[in-house]
Symmetry: C2
Subunit: 555 residues, 2 copies
């Protein structure tokens, strides 16, 4: 009997052809480690959906092999699915201190805190299992305590960069561990998976510390209140905004739930240095002169319920925007959020605020590596095989081309799709089959109970509304006892369309007469006839196609 070839399976269950719900399975014989466990926010077409998580059918099937989750950093698209997935697969979660701090906030909300084993690691730590061992490596990113992960296998190391940038002057002084990448490269890396987010951008991403400089200049001479919106999880950004505020004699108030959640955690764990004597609550802002107030807030993406959006809409209970206020967006709109961000900016302008955003000042830098940084990592790691990850198809293709231009053999590059089983052996890399993958929708308390049919109905309902037709029929005789009653929602404003609705009733009435005459007693036939006549009548009059729901009540 021929011995099966020794190989490692790499299976991305999320994060491919999307920015979101990152999850990668690394499998060797009877051991599986899972990198990241993220969520994704819904697209416009995912009506009513709260969040999207990866399909973990494969993990459930292979439950016994799983050694744990290994989390690169604390962003939602890397940790957000944990509460949902740990309910199905309770395995240990390994991450650095701050990342675990953020995970704990989530687990607490889901009453999972005492149920799940959490393992704190630090960069350079190696967690050993039977055949696999998992090493955490320091990287820079737009959140503190971010790591890459190297998985050491009998066939060689698999390196996953996580989300990274190369910051030579990070705010906490902790530079990405280029030496370790270099050392791994020297020893030989079997495969590299690397962040593709900014592969379209030439040059280098600016250092986070340049933003601090911008803030210090920007705050100079501002007479009114300053309100800065940024991501709650960007601890170093918060640090720099606070320090610039304090340097200009301002007290600092914080608004927005995620920010109020994260600041104490980051502070307690030593990642954020909060000068308590400078902190005030939003209730206290009116006690200070306007040039002594700095408010740090959520809502930099124009999220409808976030604090800044409420301020802009005049709905914030504590902060009323007024002439003289300066509002700074220390952020860049995530693709898809442009309209809501600009909408918030417009509202703020209309309330008299001065608004400063990325296209007007240098108040934001990206957390992802641009081309030159990506080239640096490839050059240090010199992987035998390369798999671009964390990007849409266009990013992955660009990243593959970048690697090829650096000398990577085309045959050693695999552009993955979610669910692909990528086999890496000593002699090469190839795709071999797929496993279940895709979107699992979270809607309220439901996990996965909203599928294609429900979404299709929501889409139809959103376009032209619904018309319900109810008729009561006598079972025996097949005669109409009452109705037809027609009720519409989201179709036309009924008071303006009384004639239309009355005529629609007559159309149904005619169908019913016809059925009585022909003695049709199959209600499904009757329903179809009602649907068809009403549909064509309404389309001819309005060019709209509401959903039509005929209901027959038998007495």
């Amino acid at each position: 009997m021929r011995k099966e070839k020794d190989k490692i399976k790499i299976i991305p269950l999320g994060g491919i052809d999307e920015i979101g719900k990152n999850m990668t399975v690394i499998e060797y014989k009877d051991e599986i480690v899972v990198i990241d466990c993220g969520l994704k926010f819904p697209d416009d077409e995912m009506f009513g959906i709260d969040v999207v998580i990866p399909d973990i059918t494969y993990l459930i099937k292979n439950k016994d092999k799983i050694k744990g989750f290994f989390i690169t950093h604390g962003h939602e698209d890397h940790i957000g699915a944990l509460p949902y997935i740990l309910k199905q697969i309770n395995v240990p979660v390994h991450a650095t201190k701050l990342t675990l701090g953020l995970i704990k906030i989530k687990l607490k909300e889901h009453n999972l805190l005492d149920v799940v084993e959490l393992v704190t690691v630090k960069p350079t730590d190696v967690i050993k299992f039977q055949r696999l061992s998992v090493e955490f490596i320091k990287v820079n990113h737009s959140i503190a305590d971010a790591t890459a992960i190297a998985i050491h296998t009998p066939l060689g190391a698999i390196v996953h960069t996580g989300d990274f940038k190369v910051d030579f002057t990070p705010v906490d002084g902790e530079v990405i561990d280029l030496q370790r990448f270099s050392e791994l490269g020297r020893k030989g890396v079997l495969a590299l998976m690397a962040d593709s987010t900014n592969v379209e951008r030439k040059g280098y991403t600016l250092s986070e510390s340049t933003v601090g400089e911008s803030f210090r200049k920007l705050f100079q001479g501002v007479e009114g209140r300053i309100i800065v919106a940024t991501f709650a999880s960007n601890i170093h950004r918060l640090q720099q905004i606070m320090e610039a505020g304090i340097a200009h004699g301002r007290k600092i108030a914080v608004s927005g739930r995620s920010m109020e959640n994260i600041i104490p955690v980051a502070s307690e764990l030593g990642y954020l240095h909060v000068d308590e004597s400078s902190m005030i609550t939003v209730d206290q802002i009116n006690k200070y002169p306007e040039n002594q107030v700095l408010i740090i807030t959520t809502g930099s993406q124009g999220e409808p319920m976030a604090a800044l959006s409420r301020m802009a809409a005049g709905l914030h209970r504590k902060v009323q925007i007024k002439t003289g206020d300066t509002v700074v967006f220390s952020s860049s709109p995530i693709p898809g959020n442009e309209k809501s961000v600009f909408n918030t900016i417009n509202q703020l302008y209309k309330l008299g605020a001065n608004v400063i955003y990325e296209s007007l000042a240098e108040v934001h830098v990206s957390g992802h590596a641009c081309q030159e940084e990506i080239k640096l990592i490839h050059t240090l790691v010199r992987p035998k095989n390369f798999i671009p990850v964390h990007g849409e198809s266009r990013h992955l293709r660009e990243h593959a081309d970048l690697a090829f231009n650096l000398g990577q053999d085309r045959n050693s590059i695999v552009i993955p799709e979610n669910g692909d089983v990528i086999e890496v052996a000593r002699d090469g890399i190839r795709k071999n089959g797929t496993v279940a993958s895709g979107h699992v929708f979270i809607d309220g308390l439901g996990v996965g109970d909203v599928g294609k049919i429900v979404l299709r109905d929501r889409k139809l309902l959103s376009e032209d509304g619904i018309i319900t037709v109810v008729v009561t029929m006598e079972k025996e005789s097949g005669m109409v006892v009452s109705g037809p009653d027609i009720i519409s929602r989201g179709f036309v404003y009924v008071k303006e369309a009384e004639v239309l609705m009355e005529n629609a009733r007559l159309v149904v009435r005619e169908v019913l007469d016809e059925c009585e005459e022909k003695r049709i007693s199959d209600w499904n036939v009757l329903k179809t006839m009602i649907k068809d006549s009403l549909k064509s009548y309404l389309y001819s009059k309005t060019m709209r196609k509401p959903m039509i729901l005929p209901i027959i009540m038998e007495v």
Copy 2:
């Protein structure tokens, strides 16, 4: 009796705090001229709406004063509302030849071609009325034959730039008439209204002719088919793409309805020079070697039904994308369209195409003036008063600041809102009241019959669907004869939620029992009770809030 002060009213009915549905009323005594008559495409929140046009209540009230529509150029946001509005106010439409050509396509679709008086003008033409006269002035823009408009009044000239850029080397050699702007400025301009779209961008907009150069370089050495997506109305872009194609020995096919509509019109009117011997139909593309095929297509904004989107989705009947195809986006995503544009790009990549878009090559330039061009116009026109137009609030504010920095007195600048009545007199400018303004929704054949309530219902339906509860009651006794039947759409996938739906039925059943017992015979009370119990039951079980529609049938 004191004589009323002599003044001109300027009333923007659209185009303010929005990019779209441009329309400005200029009124002096018993004369009104209306500049532009555009539509806007719906926002995400305008469920099911096809297009949005301005509220013209004020125009209808003052019908007899209106001398006509004066159209600056042929883009949808300047001409798109004409077919709807001319049905209500039939007044002459004045525009240059190409603009009228595009308007005629629309009027024909609406069977209005023989009903409306169309007046062809050319730049430098002046149309005289009793007290007002309207002058057309050549400008550059991303469509040929674009104009500014000067309205000469007894109090001085009002200059409206329309959409403009300053192109010293336009494709047709027709440079913006800077001399005329200068001359008007020298004589004295009472008020300037100017395009604010690109006021956030520093420097100058590149000349349209630079794009031709990019195409010639880009097409060099491409082996496969080339597919270029751009706006159908950008005639000069089409011209340059065609010429670059022909220069590289390619035949040209055109795909997409608006492109097929516009090309013959532009060609017939002499704005586009089509080399008939190079033109083929999309049916013929497979008869030519791949390196001799160029397809020009619509869909550069990722519009779901456009030709390129269908190609990307594998749904185009004639063009199947394959490895070796090069697809060029000669466009920039309009804010809000980023996701659909990138989605199309990703799909094309997945089909094996090489995709070139703005962030990778210089294949597009804007049609709107950047800061230095805007400063040039202000400096030439030196208006007494200034009104920034054609932009969101943030653009208007920036534009006001730009004018102020050029020396314009703050008191002479008015940042308008739609519906504001701006009075300009010899001694100053001020807002004095408002008229009706806002969105009129077009949905199918309905103009304005969809309002806030219908939209709110569509939004609710889109989020959590609908639950219909039907009960047949005996009128006399108030007893249940049949039901309750519960039917849901867009709420849960019923097969997965049988227990939930059965329990929901029991909840309603209990309410009915209670009502029978208490002999409640007011159906509205009963309906409210059903709604409330079901709502709280479903929320407790699912955290969703479907619309609940109780229907009582009486027998």
